[in-house]
Assembly symmetry: C2
Homo-oligomer: 242 residues x 2
């Protein structure tokens, strides 16, 4: 099956959590909105699907995945669906639910990392909400990041398999997403992360080991991996990371 | 099985989406943190579970559900688990995934309804972020609420069964959550909802029909249903709803 991923081109964004899973598994997929409009793909294909009045079950927003007839929106739901199909989820139901629960908590901190530069409205520019962003960033970097990352550090520590992965004895999609979370927070908040990371040795180690996976290393070195930038979720504004 | 729900007492909050499912199904459950501390329950039981260093798979935050040995955090994940067990989810896998996707989108708008009164930090009082809240409320009431609610209205309209429910021919947990979303937004933003509702006849009708379900009607009339208040997610601050 060729999976079709639909997400805004030009940024990693929430689509990146799905891309990492597809890349690690060596899955056959098209990153539709980054492909040529002329071939009926590109952003036009994305908006056509979102706006299609004949679609009984439309996604609310990108990213969404087409898998045959199925259209699945919401990043964590996409990974819930893909995980077992790509060999990136625990085999048992309780493990699958635990992985999903962790992915939803990752989604929560990702939303906070976005809202830090858009505390008032996603429809306004960062430049229109800078004082509010500065106040919110203080809370994120001094309170929330440590709470979330400390939680994930504990989760890795308590995995009874002691493998350095989040769940059981094998890498799964949650590990790939934690890699992305660490990478994104390091890009956006290098000073804050430098302060926090001494207490997060397991997450730092997990980041290194994910980056060294052959398929992930090849992906990161390829043009398919878009760089972090100030249009995405993880943005580096030095004034938000004193 | 007696389910154990753990959530902050004194507010409906995110726990209410779980309560409505348990109540509609007539399930056997304990609302643990609202029960007496003297019997080893109450908030003490909640924090003990969150802070237990021996718990391999701790929830990040309430609400969470204990079902036998399983502890499940994240509202949408709890409903993903409970839905089929309570007869409140579609029978097929694609339907279950669609229900979950909708629930995650409800979670997104619930988070926005919370952040409107806490745009800077959950750790600060509303009174410490009133100017920012006023700016954010303008976006929520003029842009976001209409986008989210218009989407759910379309979802009900496009259900090929034309039952007035969200999915297929039977009420499910998503309908119960949409009832709660409409009720909460009406409480918090009565003026904005009065403007928006003429375009949302299906959601208004769904709200009426959920409220009339015998188990839900009995629940809403009971002391188990806590009133909306200004400690919860949906808060009525008139200055945010001009």
């Amino acid at each position: 099956m060729t999976y079709e991923l639909y997400y805004w081109p030009g940024i990693q964004g929430r689509g990146e959590f799905v891309r990492l899973a597809l890349e690690e598994a060596g899955a056959d997929y098209l990153d539709v909105a980054r492909r040529p409009e002329a071939e009926g793909e590109g952003i036009g294909a994305l908006t056509a699907l979102v706006d299609d009045p004949g679609c009984e079950r439309p996604p609310f927003a990108p990213p969404f995945l087409k898998a045959g007839e199925l259209v699945i929106g919401q990043t964590a739901a996409i990974l819930l669906f893909l995980g077992p199909r790509l060999g990136l989820a625990p085999p048992d139901d309780a493990g699958k639910l635990w992985a999903h629960q962790l992915q939803l908590t990752i989604a929560d901190v990702v939303a906070e990392a976005h809202d830090v530069h858009h505390p008032i409205a996603g429809s306004l520019y960062y430049e229109d909400q800078k004082p509010e962003a500065a106040r919110r960033a203080a809370d994120l970097t001094q309170v929330r990041m440590s709470k979330f990352l400390g939680y994930f550090e504990q989760v890795v520590a308590r995995n009874h398999c002691r493998t350095g992965w989040t769940i059981g004895d094998a890498l799964g999609y949650v590990d790939l997403s934690l890699f992305q979370l660490v990478a994104g927070l390091r890009y956006a908040f290098p000073n804050s992360m430098a302060r926090l990371e001494p207490a997060l040795p397991r997450l730092a180690d997990l980041h290194v080991r994910v980056a060294a996976r052959p398929n992930i290393a090849a992906y990161l070195a390829s043009p398919r991996r878009q760089p972090f930038n100030e249009s995405g979720i993880f943005r580096h504004y030095p004034e938000l990371d004193p």
